[in-house]
Amino acid sequence: MILAQSIRMAVMSIVGNKVRSFLTMLGIVIGVSSVILLVSVGQGVTGQITSQFSDLGTNQLTVMITGRGAVTSLTAEEVAAFSRVPRVDQVSPTISSNVTAKYRNVHTNVSLEGITASYEKVQNFHVQSGRFLLDIDNEYRQKAALIGTETAKKLFGADNPVGREIQLNGTSFQIVGLLQAKGTSLSGSNDKKILIPLSTSERLLQSKGIQTFTVTALSDKDVASVKTAIGQILDRKFLRAKDAYSVFDSKQMLDTLKKTSGTLSLALAGIAGISLFVGGIGIMNIMIISVNERTREIGIRKAIGAKKIDILLQFIIESMVLSTMGGILGIGAGLGLTWLVGQLTALQVGYAWNMVNISFLFSLFIGVFFGILPASKAARLRPIQALRTD
């Protein structure tokens, strides 16, 4: 029988049973749309994380010191010494804490970081007006501060903060630069920050020593050798104590993150796949009912010359049309929902175009697979028996 005719008949019989057909398709619609939505959101989040990392470059090592016994940190000089390790480009120590910032009668809690001049290059974080902190600020323990955009807005409104005095935990600092807006990264908002010289922060926070610092290698290829060299120095310092320090390199972290989010989206897609499978069973169920209801029609068709294959194809095509219509609706709904999620939440979504083809083909396959049983049941009917039923 001619294919176009079969498809037309299938569409007619589906349209003739609108509510039932829609409910049957719903399983596939939900399955496909959730596959698309979940994979899209997953891809978007992965992309977001990846771009944050590659923003920083993959030649970074972050060292965290937990220490051994009474020695729980390194001195600024010890940290600075790491810049003499071969193939090291920059060393950027940080001390972090939370302080209260006050301007006139406005208070706000901000995260404070004590930094050195190398922070600018290592974190790729610049000022939009004023100047960055310099080595000389550290040397002379200047009470100079850089301010993030959100904190600046909170304290100064629309006014230019550069040159003004603020109190950090009661100590006066002069703002020398306004940082660029950078948005939120893994470590929290970058725009609700105040940066001051490392040496000043040790005094302000009354804590000596550095527990976190970032080292950049000259190139990606040097990361491994730098990591080994730093490890050797730290091992010597902490007498090979276990867990005295940990070193993360950004490439490794990125790989781990990618793997984790990949596994997560796979698991989500798997769950959605199960719902597609359940939808397929729904289609099979309805097709069996449909074959039973249309026994007489099958008898008539056979009596006037339909071969087994004609009847088989008719019902397989019907179930295929049903499932692919569900698939197309599901793709539409999935992309729509993805767009909605992108609009309504801060999540960055990446449309899973690769899943569009896959889910279309998969729903087609489900139609064929779950159509075979009912269709062969129909094809096997004997014409006289089929004609006798009402």
């Binding site: 001619i2 007619m12 003739g16 068709r301 009596a303 006037i304 014409p383 004609l387």
Partner: protein, 231 residues
């Protein structure tokens, strides 16, 4: 008249298993039908005439005996070949019309041509011609539910005619119609016979049988009478 018989049935025996008991419905039936004949097969209900119709219509295969249709032995054919023979050699007219309710009249008439593999255009031409033959060209696009019983049966006749098969096989064609429309339908069947179609009517209505040129009477699975009506 063609000398070679269109239908030759020899010693046909057929039965079913009913409640674990073998029921022989056709017992040693033999007859021939030639091109252009108008035969009525009559008999009371349970006589085996419906089973005989299924055999003639190639809807079933006899247990024993031989049946050759247009020179072809039907007993050794596959299901697919049987489907093709039904499609090409036989036009069925059923008591309750057996039209597909969701298709229009012309789509119903086209259906056997669809299974024959004709193109849309050829189908439409042949179907329209067949509908014109039964006087329903005005109602081509109506659904069966929008037609009267007589009209539905005429659509069914058009469907049987569309593929131009050598045999029209009618099972109680007037059974579901009132006597006036039944008469009209019989009149049409007679006219088709005059145009050269071979017609076999299965009926229990003697009035219908009298209009045929030849009457075969079946009783308890035996052929008890085979006579020609003189008109």
């Amino acid at each position: 008249m063609n000398t070679k018989p269109l239908i030759r049935i020899e010693h046909m025996v057929h039965g079913y298993m009913m409640a674990k008991e073998q029921m022989t419905v056709l017992k040693d039936i033999s007859f021939e039908i030639h091109h252009g004949e108008f035969v009525a097969i009559i008999g009371p209900s349970g006589s085996g005439k419906s089973t005989l119709m299924n055999m003639i219509g190639c809807l079933d295969i006899p247990n024993e005996g031989s049946y050759s249709l247009d020179g072809q032995d039907v007993r050794c054919l596959s299901d697919n070949r049987l489907a093709r023979i039904r499609n090409e050699k036989i036009g069925f007219i059923f008591q309750n019309f057996n039209l597909l309710p969701k298709l229009s009249a012309v789509q119903n008439v086209e259906l056997p041509l669809v299974y024959r593999g004709l193109s849309q255009r050829e189908r439409r031409t042949l179907a329209a011609a067949a509908l014109e033959k039964v006087g329903l060209q005005e109602r081509m696009h109506h659904r069966p539910s929008e037609l009267s019983g007589g009209q539905q049966q005429r659509v069914a006749i058009a469907r049987a005619l569309a593929g131009n098969p050598p045999i029209l096989l009618a099972d109680e064609p007037t059974g579901a119609l009132d006597s006036k429309t039944g008469e009209e339908v019989m009149h049409m069947i007679k006219r088709l016979n005059e145009q050269g179609h071979t017609i076999i009517v299965i009926t229990h209505d003697l009035g219908i049988a009298e209009q045929a040129k030849r009457v075969i009477r079946i009783q308890d699975g035996h052929l008890v009478e085979d006579r020609r009506n003189d008109q």
